[in-house]
Symmetry: C2
Subunit: 212 residues, 2 copies
């Protein structure tokens, strides 16, 4: 019943299943996914403005100066990644609920600019399982796996200001259950009283009119 | 994933469908219903400690003095109604989620004592529909109906501090949908980060141990 679209940030370490869960959520047609902006080069198979908004470094830095980004980050590679304010604002103004799949640092930046943002952290059932999931991909070096575990540790220790925690349990139903958890969170958030003040006001006005 | 039971207060004017929705919620076996205490005389068909905890006025007033009530109210008839603290505390300590079906005044008293309480208001789609529902019962005098509408107006105008609003829409699916809304709210609330600090702590501890 909320009166405009909401912003849901979904964060979680690599191996938490975040990407798969977000794909499931998009199937519900209740959300649109925010497309990130980046300065890194386009890779084979990527589609501009669908995979990413590809920006030159100059254009990205101009967006930073003009407060045109809801959040951004500069990677060790020197590349920028971020969320364009215009993209998010047009979606929520159109009444669409927006998913941002970004890290904790980005999530907290969005919350600063939109205090109404809902921050959801996806966690694995344990670090052993997270490590197992990363290894079973079979594509990454031991160094990269250790780095990802380190990043996971940092992310989880910085999540104090997050609103919700969703665990992607082991087993075939894990993803399905986590997606359902997030859908329920979204439905509940839409029914918060402070997002339905107009509804209450019109209900009471109508009543007052009858009472005149 | 919450670590102890939660208290859900469900309020709503007469005719909002609150009672029927609460019955539906109890079918899910996810909640227990708090039995109110009262000093009014037992009526035919009522079962002590199931319909109400029937207390003498002296016993009720002693509970008031000893801070033994989460909330209470004295009606114009002189009868007291309230929720025993012992009843609520033993349920939530046992990990059960408790439903209190009480008015806004009672809900706000409970919130004072347990800031963690979740306050849900059930509303009708409109006052015309509320009035229609009250009339269609065919059991109440015009005076009583007008009184109920007045109470509804007061309740809705005092709900600023409530957390959620759930509308019982017209039609055969209204009750079912409202019960589903409340179930989703309950599921979301159990996943709030601040109710799962222990889970996060143990996840991080486990990780720290691995890192040693």
């Amino acid at each position: 019943m909320a009166e405009h679209g909401l912003i849901f940030v979904i964060s979680g370490p690599s191996g938490s299943g975040k990407g798969t869960v977000v794909d499931k959520l998009l199937e519900s047609n209740e959300f649109v996914l925010s497309v990130s902006a980046t300065t890194r080069a386009m890779r084979t198979g990527e589609i501009p403005d669908k995979s990413y908004h590809f920006l030159s470094r100059e254009a990205f830095e101009e967006q930073i100066r003009n407060n045109g980004l809801l959040e951004y980050n500069r990677y060790v590679t020197g590349d920028y990644y971020g969320t364009l304010r215009s993209e998010a604002e047009s979606a929520i103004a159109a009444g669409k609920d927006l998913i941002l799949e970004i890290d904790v640092n980005g999530g907290l930046q969005v919350r600063e600019k939109y205090p109404d943002t809902i921050l959801i952290m996806m966690i694995p059932p344990s670090f052993q399982i997270l490590e197992h999931r990363l290894r079973s991909r079979g594509t990454e070096s031991e160094e990269k796996i250790q780095k990802r575990l380190q990043v996971a540790r940092n992310e989880l220790s910085q999540m104090h200001n997050y609103d919700y925690v969703v665990c992607n349990q082991e087993g075939p139903d894990g993803i399905e259950a986590a997606a359902k958890d997030i859908l329920e969170i979204a439905h509940a958030e839409r029914q918060r009283l402070d997002r339905n003040r107009d509804l209450i006001r019109s209900l009471l006005n109508q009543e007052t009119k009858r009472g005149e």
